[in-house]
C-alpha cells in the first residue's frame, strides 16, 4: 500500500506499460527488441498481480507468489528465446524479423 496513490492510478500505469509492450512487439524489426517488448508485457502483468493482492486482499500472498513464478518462467523463456535466436543467427546471419519469412509454408 502506498499512501496517497489509489489502485486506479497503478492499474493505469500497468495498462500503459502493457500497451507499450504490445506496440513494441508489433513494430520492432529486431528479434531481440521483440523479446524485450514481451518482457514489458510480462512485467505489466506481474505488477498487476502484486498490486491487486496488496490493495484488495492484504492478508493473502497468492498474487505475490504467482509473480515470483512468472519471473522464473519468464527467465527460462527468455533463455530459450535467446538460444533460438542465436541458432537462427547461425543459419541466416541475421536477427531481423523480415529475414525469417523463409520459414513460412
Amino acid at each position: 500500500m502506498i499512501a496517497g496513490i489509489s489502485i486506479y492510478e497503478i492499474l493505469t500505469v500497468t495498462s500503459i506499460l502493457f500497451f507499450i509492450g504490445v506496440y513494441g512487439f508489433l513494430t520492432r524489426k529486431n528479434l531481440i527488441s521483440i523479446l524485450m517488448s514481451i518482457e514489458l508485457i510480462l512485467n505489466a502483468s506481474i505488477i498487476n498481480f502484486v498490486v491487486i493482492n496488496k490493495y484488495l486482499y492484504p492478508d493473502m500472498l497468492q498474487g505475490v507468489v504467482f509473480s515470483i513464478f512468472i519471473i522464473a518462467v519468464a527467465a527460462a523463456e527468455t533463455a530459450l528465446a535467446v538460444a533460438i535466436i542465436i541458432n537462427l543467427y547461425r543459419q541466416i546471419a541475421s536477427v531481423e524479423v523480415k529475414d525469417t519469412e523463409i520459414m513460412k509454408y
Binding site: F25, L26, I34, K98, T100, E101, K104, Y105
Partner: protein, 639 residues
Amino acid sequence: MDITYTILIPLIPLAVFLLLGIFSQKIKPAVSGLIGVVGLSTSTLLSFYTAYQYFFVHGKINGVYQAIVQKTTWMNFTDNLHIDMGVLIDPISVMMLIVVSIVSLMVHIYSIGYMKGDDGFTRFFSFLSLFSFSMFGLVLATNLFQIYIFWELVGVSSYLLIGYYYTIPSAVSAGKKAFIVTRFADLGFLIGILIIGYYTGTYDFETLNNPEGAAILNWTSTSFMGLSVLTWALILIFIGGAGKSAMFPLHIWLPDAMEGPTPVSALIHAATMVVAGVYLVARLFPMYYFVEDGFALNIVAYVGGFSSLFAAIIAITQTDIKRVLAFSTMSQLGYMMMALGVSGYNGHEGVGYMASMFHLFTHAMFKALLFLGAGSVIHAVHSNYLKDMGGLRKYMPITNATFLIAALAISGVFPLSGFWSKDEILVAAFEHNMLLYVVGVFVAGLTAFYMFRIYFGIFWGKDTQYKHAPHESPLSMTIPLIVLALITIFSGFIHFSEFIAPDRIGFEAHLNYPLAAIATAVGLTGIVLSYIFYKKENDLADKFANAFGVFYKWTYNKFYFDEIYLFVTKKIIFNLIAAPIAKFDKKIVDATMEGIGNKTVVISKRIKGMQSGKVQDYAFSFIAGTVILAIVFIYLWTN
C-alpha cells in the same frame, strides 16, 4: 457306403497345383511333370475304386442306384436356405469322375512329351492340376451353388490355359473371348440359381430333383409372362450350360480357344469342360422333364439339334485341323443336348438321357484321342493347316492308326464305341421327334465326311515335301494315344443302360437294327464321298466349292458370326449404351468429385498468402482478434 475318401479326388490335384504353383521356379521340369502325373494317377485310382464300389458293390439298393451325399453346411442364410459343401455320388457323377480322370491322366502323360522344352512347363502342369481340381469339384457338387463355384473355376483355368502362350496376342485375346462369352452366359446361370433359391427355398440337387418333391410338384403356383417361373429359371440355367458347351449362338469362343496348347484343347475343349453344360442339364434332368411338361427341355433339344447341324456344316470348310475338331466337338455336344432334350423319364423312355451320357463318355475318349493325334501331327510338322500336311502315314504309323480308329468311331462305324452311343441317340430322337431324327442322321453323314476329309488330308492326299522329315512322336505321347484307342474300341460294349437312367433303375437297351443300318449307311456314304474327294490329290473338292459359290464362302467364314458379334458389341452396344454411360460417368460423376477437389485447391492457394511468415502479422491478428472479442463481450455484458 462311406464316401468320405472321395473328397481326396479333387483335393489331390489342388495340392499339386499349390505345390507346383508356389515353387514353380524351384522345381525342375522333369520333376514337376512327374508330380502332376503321380498326383492325377492317385485321383484316377480313387475314381476307379469309387466306381467299382458304387456300381458293383454298394450303390444299388432294391434295384435302384442311390444318390449318396455327404455334406456340411457352409453358409446359413435362413433356417431353410443354406449353402452346403460336400460330395454327391450318383451314377452320372461317378461316370464323369471316370471320364475326367482318364482323359486328364492321359493328357498329363501326353503333355510331358508335347510340352518338353517349353519355358512354362511347370506353370502348365500347375494349371492342368487346377483344372482337374475344378472339374472334379464340379462333378461332385451337391448343390447349385457349389456347382456354380466350380463352374467359374473351370472357366478361370480354361482362360489361363487358352492364354498359356501369353506372348502371342491372338492367344491372349482368345482367352479373353472365351472368358467373356462364358461369363456372359454364366450371368443367366446365376440368375437362374437365384430364382430357384427364391421360389423353392433350396439349392440341393436331391431335393430339387425329387419327382414327388415340392419344387417339381408346385411349378404351376407361380408364373411370369405365361410360363412358370421355374421354367424361366431352367431356361436361364440352360443358357449358362449352353455358354460352357458352346451351343449356338454362344459358340463363338470355342474355335478361338484352339489357340491354347493342343493337350489343353483335348482335355478342356473336347472331353471335359465343354460337357459341363450337358452334365448340368442332366444333373437337373427331373426338373427339366417335369416342370411345365418339359417346355425348357424342348428348347434344349432344338438348340442342341440346330447347333449340331450348324457346326457340322462349318466343319466341312475349315482348313485348320484343330478348328475342324472344335466344330466337330460343338456338333457332338449338340447331339448330346438333343438326346437329353428328347428323353423321357421312366424305364426305357429314358433312353435319350442314357444315350446322352453314353455319348458323353465315348465322345470324351475318341475326341480326346483325335485332339491328341492332331497334336502329335502338329508337333511333327509345326503347322495347324491342312495345306502343310499330307502323306504322313509313312512317317507316323501309330498316330495314323489311332487317328483312324477315332475317326471311324466318331463316324459311327461298327463295332467302335461311337457306333453304339450314336445309335442310342438316334433311337431316342426317332421315338420322340422325327425332325430331330432327320437332322441327327444328316449330321452323322456330315460328321463322317468332314472327319475323313481331315484324315485323308493329313495322312494321305498329296505327298508334301517336308524340310525336316517328320517322325513319330515320343513314347510319352503315343502311349496315351494307344490307351485311348483301346478304350474307344471296347467301351461301346459297356451296357450303359444298366447303370445310367433318369429314374436310376436301369433298363435293357437293344440295338435297333433298321435305325443302326440307316445310320451306318449314311456314315459310310460320308466316308466314301470323302475318299473320292480327298484320298488322292484332285480338283474335285475345289470344283464343288466353286459350285456352291456364296454358300461356301459363308460357311468358310463361319456364317460371319464373329463379325455379327463384333458389329453388335462394337457398333451398337459400345456406341449406344456404353459410350453414353461412360460420358455420364466422366462428365457428371467424375466431374463433380474433381470439381470439389479443384475448388479446394484454388481456395487454399488464395488463402495461403495470409500465412506470410512474419511473426508480427500473426501477433497483430491475434491481438486484433482479442480486442474485437473483448469489445463484443463487453457489449453483450453491458446490455
